[in-house]
Subunit: 337 residues, 2 copies
């Protein structure tokens, strides 16, 4: 089978790779139906994170089960499945608390931008989509593998809900999905911070009540103006840079909560937060925790997170997908095997 | 009238001071019925925080209203009142969100270890205790001025409640009150970390289900053992030192929440928290937010936070009160004017 391999900065190749096969009784082999490129893949593509050796890359997928190990009970060959970017057993004490990203037996993986993948912990990771899956639902189902659940986790961590105002810092795919989540969770006011007309439009479609296109202190001042002068009850920080974290701190009210889902590349200064009673919560998204609920919302056509894809390419053109995202010609690229 | 003045490290004197009087229409003058020494007063007494000039000290009190300014409507002369260690107007947008410690018109004050005090923002700060106040309730009512509400805020910030396990780091007055709060809020399991037999006993009386007397990694390992091997759902950090914060981080489970109420003297390293999905929330307690509820619980004799006082002295002996707390001969000292 064929799949993407990153060799180093700016160098992703589509190559013949060994077919994945069942290694453990809890494994499944999945033939991908769609996969995509994550903003976090770009850290290596841009040379910010090192690539010590050629490495299969990608961690988002939907597909059809081809084969399962002897211990797998929850999914079977032929089923259309979604799974998170980290595997989880869904049974350990940490998973039972809903913190699946930190599952005691969890694993990460790279190499999903490929025709086939091996999924460890299949029972605790994969969720079968009921019935026939319409092709137009595939993009939205694919987002559940990472960005939609990550955005959802950001909104949950920012305590989004009825009566709450939520601002979202970051208009990438995760930020846009956080807008959707904040709205779906019943927040009273959802403020998307975005300077790009195309992303503003998506944010509006996904549920933003108000767009703030200014950045820095000016943008924060506008958010405060929209929230009785004090800042939003919750802010989702969906970037991970020090400047995004500062922005979030400027937009949140005293006593409020910053939901962080941008993988930190630059520390959050916490000194002032204590004296403002501002909390920080979040981390790597526990995808499995949200998956049943979000699959149902997609199948019922109540949410359309697939809207974040603004370019679709054949998987064979994976190198172009990276280039398009790196050069900001695309927000997020879907790849069809 | 007479009151305490701190001159510098180890030097607190009881002196004649000018009588407070109404300066603004929203002020009240209160004759104190009881006051006390706060752990945070010791930062100056121990020379860790500077004392640039002789300063009246103290920020916890209960008392009887003597006089009110023209604008005061909520309390009147003769009423027994409790007020927080920061004033709040209870009407600004920040107060309406329950973040009274950050009130837009709030003020702090020093000088409550005295026979009389001036309370700005009287309407938004003071709560009158209904009916005749039995003398034996005074210690508990006095704790509501700071430590009981601070402990309560720690438990609320750690998301204490039904189904949750809560560990408390710090067995000072605030930590003990956090134990009480965690229990009152319905937490399933309340773990007090304390190495002192006398404080362990108080912790048990106030609601601790389990005492862990070990410190450091050994103590954290025990907390994890008590919580399915993963750590508590929430941890209250009621000290403020770097080591207490590290301890809290070691005791909390993935996806859990650290409620911080110890004023930070040493930063919290947040790098690992993101990857463990651990949150940090809290700060200076919004006393007014909790005051109505807690006054009622005290008056109904449902809680007894006054149990944290283990020494009572005449106000004139305030210097000895500081010495006793500094030398750890007492946890918290109540002073009777």
């Amino acid at each position: 089978m064929r799949g993407a391999v990153i060799y180093g900065k700016g160098d992703v190749r589509f190559e013949e790779r060994e077919d994945p096969r069942i290694l453990n009784p809890s494994d499944a082999v999945v033939r991908t139906v769609a996969t995509c490129v994550c903003g976090s893949d770009l850290w290596r593509y841009r040379g910010i994170n090192e690539v010590p050796e050629p490495t299969p890359i990608g961690h988002e997928y939907v597909g059809v089960v081809e084969e399962v190990g002897d211990a797998v009970r929850g999914v079977k060959p032929g089923e259309f499945v979604v799974g998170g970017f980290r595997t989880s057993d869904n049974t350990c004490p940490v998973c039972r608390k809903g913190a699946h990203a930190n599952c005691q037996n969890g694993t990460g993986y790279d190499g999903c931008q490929a025709e086939k993948i091996r999924v460890p912990n299949a029972d605790g990771t994969l969720v079968a989509v009921p019935g026939e899956v319409d092709r137009d639902l595939v993009p939205s189902l694919l987002t559940l593998s990472d960005v939609a659940c990550t955005g959802w986790h950001g909104a949950v961590s920012a305590l989004a809900g009825p009566g709450r105002s939520i601002a979202v810092v970051g208009d990438g795919a995760v930020g846009l999905c956080a807008v959707l989540a904040a709205k779906q969770l019943g927040s009273e006011q959802v403020i998307a911070m975005s300077g790009h007309a195309d992303r503003q439009e998506i944010a509006r479609e996904l549920g933003a009540d108000i767009i703030v296109s200014e950045r820095g202190e000016e943008g924060s001042a506008l958010v405060r103006e929209l929230t009785e002068g004090i800042g939003a009850d919750g802010v989702v920080e969906a970037v991970g840079t020090a400047s995004a974290r500062d922005q979030a701190a400027l937009c949140v009210r005293p006593g409020g909560m910053i939901g962080v889902v941008g993988v930190p590349h630059g520390g959050l200064k916490d000194d002032g937060l204590f004296f403002r009673n501002v909390g920080v919560w979040g981390g790597i998204a526990p995808v499995r925790r949200y998956l049943d609920q979000l699959v149902q919302l997609v199948v019922d056509r109540k949410i359309n997170p697939g809207r974040v894809f603004d370019l679709q390419l054949p998987l064979a053109d994976v190198a172009e997908a990276y280039a398009a995202m790196d050069e900001r010609r695309a927000t997020k690229v879907l790849l069809w095997p």
